[in-house]
Amino acid sequence: MKINREILTTAGILIIIAVTPLIFHENSYTMHLLIMSMIWAVAATAWDLLLGYGGIFNLAQVGFFAIGAYATGMASIHLGISPWMGLLLGAVASGLAGVLIGLPCLRLKGIYVALMTLAFFEVIGPLIVVGINLGTGGKAGLFPIPPFRLGSYVFNTDELLPWYYLCLILLAICLFITYKLIHSMLGLSFTALRDSEPFAQSLGINRFKSALVVTAIAAAMTGLIGAFYAHYVVVISPRMLGLDMFLFLLIMIIFGGAARFPGPVIGAFVITFLDDMLRPLDSYRLLAFGALMVIMIMLLPNGLMGLVAKINIPLFGKRDTEAEMLNPDIPKTY
């Protein structure tokens, strides 16, 4: 693997996250915010795979998050399966849901995908409520979702460090998968489709297959972190499907930089802490976020990571070209 700006930035972020508890482990609220940031970072990165890299307007991503959370929540409460298996189950269930949604939706084009998936997203909440007899808990939700166990140690809400590092491991795994994916031939194919669908197709790329695979992978990653979220917050309910999460994840992607790996990770941390800083503004906070969102799109379309790309660090040789920034690891030789 060639050392490049993406890897350096990602490694830097992961190292900073890994050592942060040295300073903050006493401050459990900050730890909580950091854990939430990591959760959003995974969700935003997965969504960016579709929106940014794939140009696939899948708006059902928060739905996959909920499916992962509910899969493990229902299985561990009703069937008593271990939360560790639940993580896997969440990923698999969401991945499958991704394929199921993808099969009809991805045959459509561009904006129709957005509308179809948005409609699907809107229908998950009602389905959870209707499915109360299947053990979804209806509108009230599921409670309490059992915690992870490691030998005789039980994860608990007083000690956040184990949660923290478990989440960091999941984040690292997801970032690794994402990085590998973006720089694989599959990644090249969906980026090609995004840039110019007709040309990509005329060169032998199967649009449907490529979009379906990336949708499934993104859904599985989102489901995985959704499952972690369920165990971490103990209670899940259809209220998580409100506009909040939907909009905040999008703001994170915009802020960090769409299709600028690992921009969404940066976005997730910045926005989570900014949101917390702005608490004194109460309801004006969202007014500010709305304005911020528009301004970012207008003035800084590549987000913070776009700025990072422009910084010249002599130590690492000359500045990467824009194109290399995007796909530096595509094999130069086979």
Partner: protein, 409 residues
């Protein structure tokens, strides 16, 4: 253009950072009360009212020299649409970061959520969920929930009251049949409440002709009204805690009514419903979770509220958060140290508190208040002037009952 964009950035930066510096600093350490409130999102309207009750209470405390000589400060936390992670964040933020000495919420977790997050500490924690599930959970594990107090009666009690209210009209109204239609939103609150009404009605030999769950956000009631018109029940009981939903129901029902008494549950207290429906609301009934008891202090408080905020106090929400704050403050004064949480909790549990809405008595295994003569749930009906008239508190004497606006067919 460049100057322009810089200007925009500056404005935004100012806007963003003004928040950081907005929180004032005090020389002596203030006592902090944590208030998780829905300030944005679908429940923001109620959040505003809850906040007013807190503001009254905190201002009153500080005007009288603070609590144990210290200034009292309110720390809010926006719990948005009440998603679990926001409720969880709220507890962590308020307890762990802000280190508040009490948490008081209006409603927002529907019970179990708060127990999940409040029980990790022992600071006094008041929740207004009105959830029977929360009481049951507390009973099962009294030790870990010893700091959790539910200062609203649970929804099942409202169901009992509403049913009593409805059938007590038999003498005056002469029900044409014994059919009842029950419609409810998909919240736990609605479901449990209407279940209580339904069980009582069936025991009394009523036929439940419609038992229908509807999603929140329903504003077109055509299909439901068709069913109602087909069955012509003598009573309709609907519970959905949303102004647009309930207002549109009443409005569309009144357009082509059946001769049914209409009970819109708790929504009867909302002034917005009254504004929205107007004349059509005459004769519509419902229970009132609590209301300011017309004692001299209560009347004075209502006047003060109007002076402060410029409008008549809404029936239940601001007085509730006011009462909860004051009853905690009293316990703190009695114990003499705000940090002796266990002693404060024990005091609150052992000593009933007389507030605006009645006497709060947590001395029961569920640590929640329940209706009684001294903590009444009222039953009300809109009279022709558009104002709410209460029916007897002790007995159902129905002094002001009147027939609904719509004709009896």
């Amino acid at each position: 253009m460049i100057r322009n964009s810089k200007l925009i950035f500056l404005t935004v930066a100012l806007l963003l950072f003004s928040g950081v510096f907005a929180s004032p600093s005090f020389s002596s350490e203030p006592i902090k009360i944590g208030a998780p409130l829905p300030l944005t999102g679908d429940y923001a309207a109620d959040g505003e009212h809850m906040l007013m009750g807190f503001q009254m209470a905190v201002d009153d405390l500080n005007a009288s020299g603070g609590l144990l000589g210290q200034k009292v400060e309110l720390v809010t936390f926006d719990i948005k649409n009440l998603a679990a992670e926001d409720v969880s964040s709220a507890s962590k933020y308020l307890i762990k970061k802000e280190k508040v000495d009490a948490v008081i919420e209006g409603y927002g977790g529907w019970g179990p959520d708060w127990l999940a997050f409040g029980a990790n500490s022992n600071i006094p924690f008041f929740h207004g969920s009105g959830s029977s599930t929360a009481n049951e959970l507390t009973m099962k594990d009294p030790k870990s929930y010893s700091n959790m107090f539910q200062y609203f009666s649970p929804e099942t009690d409202y169901g009992v009251r509403a049913y009593q209210g409805l059938v007590s009209f038999d003498k005056k109204y002469q029900y044409p049949n014994k059919k009842i239609a029950i419609i409810y939103g998909d919240l736990d609150w609605d479901i449990t409440y209407t279940r209580a009404v339904k069980d009582l009605a069936e025991k009394d030999g009523w036929e439940v002709v419609l038992d229908e769950k509807v999603p929140y956000g329903t504003t077109d009631w055509g299909p439901i009204l068709t069913k109602i018109r087909k069955e012509k029940p003598a009573a309709i009981c609907i519970s959905i805690l949303s102004v647009p939903d309930i207002s549109s129901f009443v409005k569309q029902f009144v357009e082509n009514p059946t001769s049914s008494l209409l009970d819109i549950s708790y929504m009867v207290v909302f002034k917005e419903v009254q504004d929205a429906v107007g004349e059509g609301l005459q004769g519509v009934m419902g229970y009132v979770t609590s209301y300011v008891i017309p004692t001299p202090e209560g009347k004075k408080w209502k006047i003060r509220f109007k002076e402060k905020f410029g409008f008549e106090v809404p029936l239940t929400t601001p007085p509730s958060t006011y009462d909860a704050t004051m009853l905690w403050a009293k316990a703190v004064r009695e114990i003499g140290d705000v940090k002796k949480y266990d002693e404060i909790n024990a005091y609150i549990k052992a000593n009933p508190y007389k507030g605006l809405l009645g006497t709060y008595d947590f001395n029961n295994p569920g640590q929640g208040v329940s209706p009684s003569d001294t903590f009444p749930i009222a039953y009300g009906q809109y009279n022709s002037k558009g104002a709410l008239s209460f029916f007897g508190v002790d007995e159902f004497e129905l002094p002001n009952y009147m027939n609904p606006a719509w004709p009896k067919k």
